[in-house]
């Protein structure tokens, strides 16, 4: 495996700027790695090598012409297949959108392309971002590069796996209940859910509008910050986007300093149901932060106990409405259009055939929760809980700069292990959901391998809305201290191990 693939985006940026490396070489290396490992990892739904190389060459030409380019110009990126991009299919991991090529770019796609970032292709995901394992993809399951028999997290398992398998240095995800952070945690990568409204949802196929948050995925905190800086900002096409300056997340990642910072552990996010190895690595990381001078305290957010329940009413309610448009009339799959079936029949047959079980489950739950006579008891009550959770955050942030918890209660589970137990699957997002409900920002950074099973453990840092820079400040400090301790990034341990030999072309 080429060293280029190991190199993080910040360093690649310097090499490209100094013309020691061309975007074409770099893109070629990524494409070769995809060629080498993706039949095992299955991170990508769609790769467009010709397009990627052409855009890399265009960047090289502009650089040669002396044009001043942004820091990520020429760096390859894996895009979750939920962002629209012209000329490429957008399926959201669903058969119902198979073959649909959107006629427009998402705002973030536009920003990424304008920054000169090279889009390699679209990554696999749970269908319409519903799941924690990619097992709900309508196409195939992505495998965790650390253990190909295990899940890479979800819904953005494709993006996280692409990073961990060194297929791309940068990736994009969306986080509705943890779909960026949980995959990051189980693959030893970095994933950020920005403040809701800080990143535009325009052109990001909606799962649950009030929760969906696009965000950056990377192998280092600084790389995530560099991508965050590119994709964040007010968008007049998204009414819920925030018209305010983006905090300087890159500066925060570069000047990692936690001395005197108040870091509070959320009491409710730990204890029973959490794997001992996860808690051990979490506590060790806390100790590292304390050594760095942070002040560690504990807070209680009692309403977090109801977060999962509230989430599983609000999210499906919005899903049931957002996914109504997939009705076979205008695009995507159409089943049963035989000239005899009615419009309603064709809608039913198409939706029956095109949606997977989990999507149907959530549509049914949401339809029920919004029904006349049930609305107040379900959707209405859930919204009240949401308010209470926001108040818990407000109270906690009154006495702490950031809150911390494990990102997920366990490490990556085995493929197939939870497919028949939706509740067990849902619990993977126990720690990540509160920030989606409240709209604040959060990050997951790797803090080691669990002594239980040798698999990565993620550490979640949560900050108030529009204080995204704090995530990077604390995340980078922790990352720096731990990589010093490990003698390099955690992912190097995968590359060096027999289980990771395939990543360098060795036998599995």
């Amino acid at each position: 495996m080429s060293d280029l693939l190991h190199t993080d985006a910040a360093e690649l940026s310097g090499l490209l700027a100094d013309k020691q490396l061309s975007a074409r070489e770099l893109t070629q290396a990524s494409l070769e790695q995809i060629e080498r490992v993706d039949s095992e990892v299955k991170a990508f739904l769609h790769v467009d090598a010709d397009r990627a190389l052409a855009s890399a060459e265009a960047i090289d030409a502009r650089r040669m012409a002396g044009e001043e380019l942004g820091p990520l110009a020429g760096i390859p990126l894996a895009m979750k297949d939920i962002f629209t991009m012209t000329g490429a299919p957008t399926t959201c991991g669903s058969r119902i959108l198979e073959g649909w090529v959107p006629p427009y770019n998402s705002t973030i796609t536009d920003k990424v392309l304008a920054a000169g970032i090279v889009v390699l292709g679209k990554t696999n995901m749970d269908e319409f971002a519903m799941g924690s394992s990619t097992e709900n993809s309508g196409y195939f399951t992505t495998h965790n590069p650390w253990d190909l028999d295990r899940i890479p997290g979800g819904s953005g398992g494709g993006s996280a796996a692409a990073l961990a398998a060194f297929e791309a240095p940068l990736a994009l995800g969306t986080d509705t209940g943890g779909s960026i952070r949980q995959p990051a945690a189980v693959t030893a990568t970095v994933g950020v859910k920005p403040t809701y409204g800080a990143t535009s949802r325009y052109g990001v196929v909606a799962m649950a509008s009030s929760l969906d948050t696009p965000g950056p995925c990377a192998r280092t905190v600084l790389d995530a910050a560099l991508l965050h800086q590119v994709i964040a900002g007010w968008d007049p096409r998204d009414s819920t986007s925030i018209n305010a300056a983006v905090p300087d997340v890159v500066a925060a990642a570069k000047h990692a300093e936690v001395k005197g910072l108040k870091i509070a552990v959320v009491r409710e996010l730990g204890g029973d149901g959490y794997a001992p190895g996860v808690l051990q690595r979490f506590n060790e990381a806390l100790a590292v932060l304390a050594e760095l001078g942070a002040e560690i305290t504990e807070v209680s957010c009692p309403n977090f106990d109801y977060a999962l329940s509230a989430y599983y009413l609000i999210m499906p309610s919005e899903v049931s409405s957002n996914l109504a448009r997939f009705d076979a009339m205008r695009y995507g799959l159409r089943v049963g259009d035989d000239g005899v079936n009615s419009v309603e029949d064709v809608m039913n047959l198409t939706r029956g055939a095109g949606f997977g079980a989990e999507v149907k489950r959530r549509i049914i739950i949401g339809t029920y929760a919004l029904s006349s006579g049930y609305y107040d008891a379900y959707y209405g009550s859930a919204q009240k809980v949401r308010t209470l959770i926001t108040q818990d955050f407000d109270a906690a942030f009154a006495s702490a700069d950031v809150l911390v918890s494990p990102t997920t209660p366990t490490t990556a589970f085995k493929i197939g292990e939870r497919v028949d137990d939706p509740l067990a699957m849902y619990k993977a997002d126990l720690c990540t959901i509160p920030s989606n409900l409240a709209g604040n920002c959060a990050i997951s950074v790797p803090v080691g391998l669990s002594p239980d099973d040798g698999l990565p453990v993620g550490f979640q840092i949560m900050a108030p809305a529009m204080a995204d820079d704090r995530l990077y400040r604390v995340g980078a400090a922790l990352e720096q201290a731990l990589t010093d301790r490990w003698g390099g990034p955690l992912l190097n341990q995968l590359v060096a191990s027999p289980a990771g030999a395939y990543l360098s072309g060795g036998a599995r």
Binding site: W100, P102, Y202, A206, D238, S239, R325, Y331, L370, S371
Partner: protein, 491 residues
Amino acid sequence: MDFDDAMASFDPVLGLEVHVELNTATKMFCGCANQFGDVPNSNTCPVCLGLPGSLPVVNGKAIESAIRIGLALGCDIAGWCRFARKNYFYPDMTKDFQTSQYDEPIAFNGMVELEVDGEIFSIEIERAHMEEDAGKLVHAGGATGRIGDAEYSLVDYNRAGTPLIEIVTRPIRGTGAKAPAVAKAYVSYLRDLMRALGVSDVRMEQGSLRCDANVSLMPKGETELGLRTETKNVNSLRSIENALHYEIRRQAALLAAGGKVHQETRHWHEEGYTTAGRSKEEAEDYRYFPEPDLVPVAPSPEWVEQLRATLPEVPAVKRKRLQAAWDFTDQEFADIVNADALELIEATVAAGALPSSARKWWLTELARRANEAGLELAQLAITPGQVAALQELVDAGTLNDKLARQVIDGVLAGEGDPAAVVAGRGLAVVSDDGALAAAVDRAIQANPDVAAKIREGKVAAAGALIGAVMKEMRGQADAARVRELILARLG
């Protein structure tokens, strides 16, 4: 059962839902042109097509219009309100939900007063809310254009996302036999008001003003509302009156025979009857919830007051004022209103014509032409300014009435303003006394007996000579001037 018999036994209760399409330049939630009659699906984009990933952004002008409409209806304006999703599957809805408002309308608690045959009726407005229109289904391949016998259906999404204001009344009681007339007067009132506000084209035949007429009957002396029907497809003021007239008789006959009214929608046919549509006995569950893709609408009190200051004169008040200013009798003025000519005459007067002249043109010659062409007066290809210019030419002696009618032909044919038509067609009255005098002389010579009578003092005989001169001048002479010349020669 005839209407009078129905009224002897029952009291009708009305409920009117009026949809007004706003004439904003762009649609409710995207930048597409809000235009009627374009090539199907040409005014569409990812947003109004509901493509995956697209998001709505509220049209500020539509909010402004909604507030002005609410204020003009005497409503309270919500300090904070939200859009809601009304969920249902239908091919004309690109998202399979309609972005509307539910329990938080922008305007509520209004009232308007109508005068019908000298009696004042207060109509309470429950709410006026904002929503988007759906696309238009075209059922093709059948004889009727209705879905029942169509071979296939086409969808035109140009209308999808057109801003709509739905104005809903509280139950209207106590109208008695005037119920159909009150409904017609109410919709007419709204039409005038919307036009005065400048917020809508209010063309009922094009659907930019639509009324769903709910009616139920209560046996006389009772207070409990009966089951209602909702009649749709009433596309003109006359249809509203006729449809309600029919529906009241139909329901009365049913009830009188011991039957029951089914709660349902009814479809009005211009031939004069309604047929059953969708049953409403099982209420549809639209699963309304606040639209998460939009932020709440919170108009500041200052803005609302600014908008209040832009409200036009209430049309009924304006009518009283204009009638007095123009000095028309009740009948003369009623003719103007009934002919939908008030604004046209007002504009013609503003352009310089006398009210009597303006009235004359619009209610006679132009009304006749509109009628022949099957158009409304306002749709004629002549502007109030052109009518005033025409009258000015008549007043100046350039045109007589006969020539003026030819000039109207020219204007309607697109030949330009009256002056341009006069020039283009060479229609001006011959005011050259030399030419006229020569023609008069020829007429005198050709008709010596008539000339003799005039010389004897029988001035009335001049008509024959005038006719001869006018004929020679192909009508392009001022008859009064010709008469003067004849009398001068002979007397």
